[in-house]
């Protein structure tokens, strides 16, 4: 187990260096000069542009800029955006919003998804099962943008149940509607996955044996079926949490939530190398970390998977 974790950490370090360099070069080679575009259709004076280019080292070759950036990382300096604000501060200010949104959506997925999946798995072919099937197909086929705007107009504007935008009303009011919209997508997968898994497990030999032994159905389902069918769902849920923490650019924009996704989108638009690399690297680390956690959880839940 220790060797397994150690190996993953080394892999992580290699991926980290590779990815930061690649992203840095990619942002650098984006067409268009970010400083010239800073003022939009009111271009900045030439002298100001030259000064800003020197200030942000944009007049240097890309490898030197990258080395500077990595050097800064070791002293905890994540660089600065083109308006002089430290990237570290900007990210720190935005993580709480994204984490709150992600965990709210995730909690909805876990609770509703597992329960619905379990019910439709136990009563496959029943009314709940059919309703869930239709519902999940619908939810996954509507683009998140349409769903978000519609939910905003119906529940925010017409019914007035939720605020339309912003975080000023705090959790849970401000986060509930966007979280539900995001959760609907993961929810569909969780439910289907859970349902299939439950159906499979119910048909397995050990369940038949337990039934034959006369164990009450409650116990069979609650302990044995649950534990055996939740493993693949848990894998999905962990990966999905990583995805949710990446920020959902569209939802954050529609509901005016200043999260990490919105920051990344803005930074790509303005070609702010340090911000893009900082956010992207953090996201990659989250993905890598969740994948390690998934492997560990799986090996704990299912002794057949061993990491020697």
């Amino acid at each position: 187990m220790i060797r397994f974790v150690g190996r993953r950490v080394v892999e992580l370090a290699i991926v980290f260096v590779g990815v930061t360099f690649i992203i840095y070069v990619m942002v650098f080679t984006l067409p268009g000069d970010p400083i010239a575009a800073l003022g939009g259709d009111r271009p900045l004076p030439e002298a100001v542009q030259a000064q800003l280019r020197a200030q942000y080292h944009l007049d240097e070759p890309v490898w030197l800029q990258y080395l500077r950036y990595v050097g800064g990382l070791f002293t905890g300096d994540l660089g600065t955006g083109f308006d002089g604000r430290p990237v570290g501060d900007r990210m720190a200010a935005r993580w709480p919003v994204t984490i709150t949104l992600a965990l709210t959506a995730w909690a909805i997925e876990v609770v509703v998804g597992v329960v619905l999946g379990l019910i439709s798995g136990l009563r496959s072919g029943g009314l709940v099962d059919r309703t869930v099937l239709v519902g999940t197909v619908l939810a996954t086929s509507i683009p998140v943008f349409v769903l978000g705007v519609t939910a905003q107009l119906v529940f925010g504007l017409q019914l007035g149940w939720f605020p339309i935008a912003g975080t000023s009303e705090g959790w849970p009011t401000a986060y509930l509607l966007p979280a539900i919209v995001i959760a609907l997508f993961g929810l569909a997968s969780v439910t289907r996955l859970m349902r299939g898994s439950v159906v499979d497990t119910l048909r397995s030999d050990f369940v038949r044996t337990l039934t034959a032994k006369g164990m009450p159905r409650r116990n069979i389902v609650g302990v044995h079926v649950m534990r055996n069918s939740v493993a693949p769902v848990l894998t999905f849920l962990a990966i999905d949490l990583g995805y949710l923490l990446g920020g959902t650019v569209v939802i954050e924009a529609i509901f005016n939530l200043p999260g990490i996704g919105a920051l990344l989108f803005d930074a790509i638009k303005t070609h702010e190398g340090p911000t893009v690399v900082g956010v992207a690297t953090a996201l990659i680390l989250i993905f890598l970390a969740t994948s390690v956690v998934v492997d560990l959880i799986n090996s704990v839940l299912d002794p057949r998977i061993r990491h020697e």
Binding site: L30, P31, G32, D33, P34, A36, A37, L38, G39, G40, D41, R42, P43, L44, P45, E46, A47, V48, Q51, Q55, D83, G84, R85, D89, R90, A93, R94, P96, V97, I99, T100, L103, T104, W106, A107, V110, V114, L153, G156, L157, I164, A165, G166, S168, G170, P172, A174, Y175, V223, R227, V230, I254, F255, N256, L257, P258, A262, K269, T270, H271
Partner: protein
């Protein structure tokens, strides 16, 4: 199962904890306690310092008072200035009103202005709006082509006494009093404390205006300004303005519809429906902005003036305006926006009128148009419908193989445009910051005048005519008529629309007033029931 229950419980606890933290930092902005407070939807400004801000005009106009203020009826009132005078239009003497203070209590003096303008101009500070002081003698010394400047002050600024200073310009310019009006934020004064730590000042700017900032600026959090008790000018009609940042302007629009926000600007995509959605609460303010269809004059096919005129006559401005902008704009009939005094309206005449048959004849007369025509515009800004409509017009009316192609983003477009890597018509617009024909003609038609490569057509005669008009104008803008005649002769690019800036308000506001710069005048908002 038990393990999973525990996991679920733990995650719910975590969610709750995070939610509580979010609650603590949030808080409601609505005031129901009788305070006359309004909320205004903005883009997160990033920079607030007047010499640096790029998207914080409304905040700046609330926190600072300008030297002069141009009213909607065209009169120029003095606010912080007592007088702005000159005998030769080169050396201007500015006298300040006595008794005005910054929000930190220190007096506004001639020295405040001189120090501020020097700070704006000083090259190494890289103030984004330093172009606004570029006509003062000594600006180039502070911005040498190579290396650091050896001095920190412009020689053209001289303090005479506590309340008087003189400004020497590089050439005669009758429009100077307008250049220190409300939207020229780089001309605002900063208190002495600002110069020690410009970064700290950007976080907590201190102005001389009707409102002062509460607390510090934090990215993506609401900026609250309250009426400054010791303000020496006219008291504002509201006690408090909250500038609420929105990442998406359509969300702000929807929030005004729901009554959660009082004022928001209208995104282009909502212009056609804003009148229906808001009725009397929809405001379209005439603004000093104008759009052109830039033409690649380096391409031989566009050399004949008749080709350029034909393109202009083939564009159905009325229909495009009605369908795409809900009639909010005005089809252009001159080379500067109509709101700029003295603009000879209708000088463009038949060439700005939709006449597909005459356009086709004119093009044939000029020898037709070979090959295809690709219209370039910056993508991602909601301009697609607009340029597709123009391409359709040109295709149907002139038989030219015209298409509209967006760039990936603004930076790519701006790069291609500046480098001349564009072989078709292109996006070209300018929003002036003070309504004088000078403020539109210079950016478009003088090299390094501001709108780099907007058209770009730089003619020595036009430059000379603008210089002459700058020197000679008596305030009514009539001196610029000659310039417009010269431009008409050459017709370098078709003017398209005089722009308006549009806003919607909640029912809490009964009247939103404006000034000739097109922004709402936040000091004079009329609340419902007052």
């Amino acid at each position: 199962m038990r393990r999973n229950q525990r996991t679920a419980a733990a995650s719910i606890l975590l969610v709750t904890a995070l939610g509580l933290t979010a609650c603590a930092t949030g808080g409601s902005d609505t005031a129901d306690d009788g305070t006359r407070a309004i909320t205004f939807g903005v883009t997160d400004p990033g920079t607030l310092t007047p010499g640096r801000q790029l998207v914080a005009y409304d905040f700046n106009m609330a926190v600072w008072s300008p030297l002069s203020f141009l009213e909607s009826d065209g009169t120029l009132n003095y606010v912080q200035a007592e007088s702005i005078e000159s005998d030769d239009n080169i050396t201007w003497t500015i006298t300040l009103k006595d008794g005005w203070t910054f929000h930190d209590g220190t007096p506004v003096t001639a020295q405040s202005y001189v120090d501020s303008w020097n700070t704006v101009a000083y090259g190494p500070n890289a103030f984004e709006n330093s172009g606004q002081v570029a006509n003062i003698v000594g600006y180039t010394d502070l911005n040498p082509a190579e290396g650091e400047p050896s001095i920190t002050e412009m020689s053209g600024l001289t303090v005479v006494d506590d309340l008087t200073f003189t400004v020497e310009l590089i050439g005669p310019d009758s429009q100077f009093p307008l250049q220190v009006s409300q939207a020229q934020t780089a001309m605002y004064p900063m208190p002495e404390s600002a110069f020690d730590d410009l970064d700290a000042y950007n976080t907590h700017p201190i102005g001389n205006g009707p409102f002062e900032l509460e607390g510090d600026y934090v990215e993506n959090e609401t900026l609250v300004v309250t009426a400054y008790d010791d303000f020496a000018g006219d008291a504002p009609t509201t006690d408090q303005i909250s500038f609420v940042p929105y990442t998406d302007d359509t969300t702000a629009y929807t929030d005004v519809q729901a009554g959660n926000l009082d004022v928001a600007s209208v995104p282009a995509s909502r212009l056609p429906q804003a009148g229906d959605d808001f009725g009397d609460n929809f405001y379209s303010f005439e603004a000093p902005g104008i759009s052109y269809l830039g033409l690649p004059l380096w391409d031989e096919r566009y050399q004949d003036v008749r080709v350029r005129q034909a393109i202009s006559m083939a564009i159905d401005r009325e229909t495009i305006n009605d369908v795409i902008y809900g009639g909010a704009y005005t089809p252009a009939t001159a080379f500067t926006p109509a709101i700029e005094p003295g603009t000879p309206e209708d000088i463009c005449g038949e060439f700005c009128e939709y006449d597909p048959d005459a356009a086709k004849d004119l093009l044939d007369e000029a020898g037709g148009f070979e090959g295809s025509m690709e219209i370039s515009f910056p993508g991602g800004g909601g301009l697609d419908d607009f340029y597709n409509a123009i391409a359709n017009n040109l295709r149907q009316n002139l038989g030219v193989d015209a298409t509209a192609v967006p760039s990936a983003d603004w930076a790519e477009f701006s790069d291609n445009r500046t480098a001349g890597n564009i072989d078709g018509p292109f996006f070209s617009r300018w929003g002036a910051l003070y309504p004088s024909q000078q403020a539109t003609l210079r950016p478009f038609f003088v090299e390094n005048g501001g709108c780099a490569n907007c058209i770009p057509w730089y003619d020595a005669d036009v430059k000379a005519a603008i210089d002459a008009a700058d020197a000679a104008d008596t305030g009514d803008g009539s001196a610029y008529a000659d310039v417009q005649e010269l431009i008409l002769e050459e017709f370098p690019a078709p003017p398209l629309f005089f722009e308006t800036y549009s806003y919607v308000t909640s029912d809490r506001i009964s009247d939103l007033v404006t000034s000739p710069v097109g922004n709402p005048r936040l000091t004079n908002v009329v609340l419902a029931g007052e």
